[in-house]
Symmetry: C2
Subunit: 589 residues, 2 copies
């Protein structure tokens, strides 16, 4: 039984929330037609289920291993990675001039989702590499692009992001790693980085580290950061990896989950100099980071989607097999637990979260595609505004949903869910990182309330809320859901208005509940729009279980899950007074 | 820094929600005066923090180990267990005739909470033993009581509950283990049991297994179950453990958490006969189970309290130390993350859950004490009804809260929370079992809606709701919270009425959201009553940070957490229609 979303679901989500038809009309994206998209999704589905999923258990139990020689992955990873490279899966959305296929990013995202559902820890290697491609594409010099990009795009080499240091986590401006001028345009990088995902491994011929460091003349804080390219092996001008550079993995972390993803402590310039080259202008490091941030955050949101889908599929398979207790039917015979209403509530919740968050992530990524490719500057600007608004919501709400779904999956498994052999518990261990990295979900909420609500004088979110309001109309069996959605949109409008009018320091107190209100509303909205398309197709005679399920999911999301948002209003609008109580020992700490 | 609730908090919770003054006026409980209670809490606090907490990390990383010789615990467990036995900690609430101290159960619960906060996996050994004491006290013969009870009460021997079999989890009526008559009043037990907590270990001289099995003449289902006592070593009449009985641990599980708690597969009568004796009447097994169930479920709810408190304390300590990012103050200097509003929201949520669920569990256990000890039959009956009503809510809401708090603790830790060395992730792994065992939380919700709402024609819940309504009045800074509580109680009354009027099969669809509505309301209610006591004391001149914090917690719980319940009404009252959508592939499964 496949453990990832069916291609049918991904195609439908791409065609509706992912705005595929609109994308296919943009210059450069003409190839993104249904037939080709289906072939890509089917291929990715096979790679994910046949190759990546098979390595999930061993990746978790054996994990990445460190020695003084480097980091090794369990047997099978290198061959599966090779299959990924040979299939050209990493190059789908890269620019043709770098050897890419130039397809919309949202298609690449659908492919990556398959791999993450099958093996989240493994897919992180691809995710980081895609981030490196983006950074070099936008900020790299022509020489850097010529030498590095094609090899990273093909997957022959992988890439990493080296930001975090012990004292500099969420506070990236506290970075201390130094860069001093060396021969020619080279620099010597010195310092250590922690939590570097796939910082060292044995799957690729070279690893290209992108490192935030501080030049001698740098001002304090984020403004003084520069981005450097530090390859593991120094390539010749023809791209052959040569001498080993002075960058080493000193240790890997022992983590709750994603054991196959080596989380490395990287040491630069300890035994020998670590040679690097500036990417983009000096002191332009933070700008380069911001360039990548939108895609990176959406890619982490995608992990939430992937793990929610995986947890749903595994729990559904379990619930179909596990016979236990009589239901309310006349037979009084023990039944598969899928028959029990409370188990179904959990499964429907998981499905609604997975499909709702998929819709949200695809919608935001498609907006980035439009912002990149639409010839009309106004359309590009509108799409950029939408993507900016949705990014923190997609990152935080989808990753929270991944954790929620994984936890429900364990609950459905009962005692069997709690023992490791069934694999249900692994999803929770894996999922739990996603609300933390690439900006904690608390930081996403502050970004939403402090920055995104305030950009362009609030024009962006007001426009999107009016779009949701206009969509909150439906007939037939979707009537009740649409009515709840209309109420929710009105409540969201009012709540956003209150936060917009508050001082930022006050609004911060309600940022997380507000983000959740937004997440519940926008996912219900997107699922309702999908369901209306499904209803139209059914009305046209195309009555399939898949389309029926789309309506059922949207109804459940709108009628039963969405109302949670009404209960969050007091917390979202309450400011900070109750969080800083006078005379309280918590405050005294 | 202590990792468990301060004695001050436990005493206050006992005196308010735990009805300690009322208990101390009941015959037999006269010793439960403030001075003695404080001494007990201080002693338990020391045992927990000095001995049990120190074994938390090694218990997790090394864990219980199985060999053909049996199960061994890491170094230090045996000595700490001996300290528990020598301190008489297990005998607090047991009957004096069995060597116990005859104190209210709620006091024993406060002590066990300390141990569970310090080391949940270890405390499970005590929890199971306390369950065995209860079963034998109520259902054992005089001979069984004389031979076994004093040794189990002292802790010299431990006890287990052997219910689950591979095909019989939630569906206990599917048990197949057989009992056939042997010499005299002895029986031969044959079969295997899984998931037996602390079924085998090296801490005590003997282990007394209580085993559900089926006699040859037994009817099908739960009505045919009998309870048997099967000691690991067959004792002489003077209680000296003699020959090894035919019960063996064949394996232990590899679980997500609670690694120091051996979860055993027990084999009865394989190599040699397993000799057992009937406890209570033949076919009385399910009745014996129900006797124990109230305390057992509340004891599991207590684990939720314990882990929420522990996660709160560890996260608070982390948030005080970890310096990261500037806040909104004028300095713009990096601050401990405790200064950030969103971190405080997480900490306040954890604290409100821990203290609210503590109040709930203590309240329900104290009601059981009254139901047991009050000379007035009407008072006993009312208290029993209250305990019956609150038990599923306490079990499910408190264990869900334990998971929620542990997850928030990881979030506060950020990247450090996700690596195992900080210990924050361990709490989530440990906490995740509690919503599953002793009746899954879904089963608790069905118990609430299907049984507890319907008992006595609904008199019980209506009376409790009116009590909450009467308490939803306060002045000063508690006014707003009390108003929200009054609205919530009215909503709960209306929702309960709708479910009461529904067919049970329909009501089952909303059972879980309804239980959560009830849990949010009753914990806010109990915290508000605590805060009113605190306000009175502050008004009387006793202005301490602890009492200030009580008011802050109650305000946060009532004004910001409680409103979640309003958003759950549609799911609670929606019946099952949206859970069984026609034509949906989920349904088709």
């Amino acid at each position: 039984m496949p453990v990832t979303a069916p291609a049918e679901e991904q195609l439908f989500a791409l065609q509706t929330s992912g705005m595929l038809d609109r994308l296919a009309r943009l210059p450069g994206f003409e190839d993104a037609q249904e037939e080709m998209v289906t072939a890509i999704l089917d291929g990715a589905n096979a790679l994910a289920n046949d190759r990546f999923a098979a390595l999930h258990a061993i990746g978790d139990t054996e994990g990445a291993r460190w020695s003084t020689e480097g980091v090794t992955l369990p047997k099978g990873f290198a061959a599966a990675y090779q299959a990924y490279v040979e299939g050209g899966w990493g190059s789908l959305s890269a620019a043709p001039e770098a050897g890419g296929q130039g397809l919309p990013a949202v298609l690449g995202v659908a492919v990556q989702e398959q791999l993450a559902s099958a093996n989240m820890a493994f897919q992180l290697c691809m995710m980081l590499t895609l981030g490196g491609i983006e950074a070099l594409s936008v900020h790299g010099s022509d020489d850097q692009k010529a030498l590095y990009l094609p090899r990273i795009v093909s997957g022959e080499w992988t890439a990493t992001m080296n930001l975090t240091e012990p004292q500099a986590g969420s506070d990236v401006g506290a970075v201390r790693t130094s860069a001093t001028p060396a021969d020619g345009d080279a620099w010597h990088i010195k310092g250590s980085k922690i939590f570097i995902t796939w910082g060292e491994h044995d799957l690729a011929a070279n690893i290209v580290h992108l490192v935030l460091a501080r030049t001698p003349d740098a001002p304090a804080g984020t403004k003084g950061l520069s981005l450097f390219l530090v390859p593991k092996f120094l390539p010749d001008t023809d791209g052959t990896p040569g001498a080993r550079n002075g960058v080493d993995c000193a240790a890997i972390e022992h983590k709750l989950g994603i054991h196959a993803s080596p989380t490395c402590t990287m040491i630069f310039g300890e035994a020998q100099p670590a040679i690097g080259w500036l990417v983009g202008p000096r002191h332009g490091g933070i700008a380069a980071m911001f360039t990548m941030m939108n895609h990176a955050r959406l890619n982490v949101g995608l992990e939430g989607v992937a793990i929610a889908e995986r947890a749903y599929r595994d729990a559904l398979a379990f619930a179909r097999e596990r016979v236990q207790s009589a239901g309310f039917d006349a037979s009084r015979e023990p039944q598969p637990i899928l028959a029990h209403a409370d188990v179904r509530r959990m499964l429907m919740t998981m499905r609604a979260r997975a499909e709702g968050c998929r819709a949200l992530v695809y919608h935001a990524v498609a907006a980035l595609d439009i912002a990149h490719a639409d010839p009309d500057p106004a359309a590009r600007a509108d799409a950029k505004t939408l993507a900016d608004l949705l990014t923190p919501i997609a990152k935080a709400f989808a990753t929270d949903s991944g954790v929620e779904a994984a936890s429900l999956g364990i609950q459905i498994g009962g005692g069997m869910g709690y023992i490791e052999e069934t694999g249900l518990a692994r999803h929770l261990r894996d999922a739990r990182i996603a609300p933390i990295y690439e900006g904690t979900n608390g930081i996403q909420a502050l970004d939403l309330v402090g920055r995104k609500l305030r950009m362009d004088g609030g024009v962006g979110w007001r426009a999107f809320i009016e779009e949701m309001a206009a969509g909150a109309i439906a007939d037939g069996e979707l009537t009740a859901g649409a009515k709840t959605l209309a109420r929710a949109v009105a409540t969201l409008r009012e709540t956003a208005g209150k936060l917009y009018a508050m001082a930022p320091a006050e609004a911060a107190g309600g940022a997380t509940p507000f983000l959740r209100m937004f997440g519940l509303t926008v996912t219900a909205h997107l699922l309702l729009q999908q369901a209306k398309v499904a209803a139209t197709r059914i009305g046209g005679g195309d009555d399939t279980p898949f389309l029926r399920a789309k309506i059922a999911t949207a109804r459940f999301a709108c009628e039963q899950l969405l109302p949670e948002m009404f209960g969050l209003v007091p917390a979202a609008t309450g400011g900070t007074a109750l969080l800083y109580p006078e005379g309280d020992p918590l405050f005294a700490g």
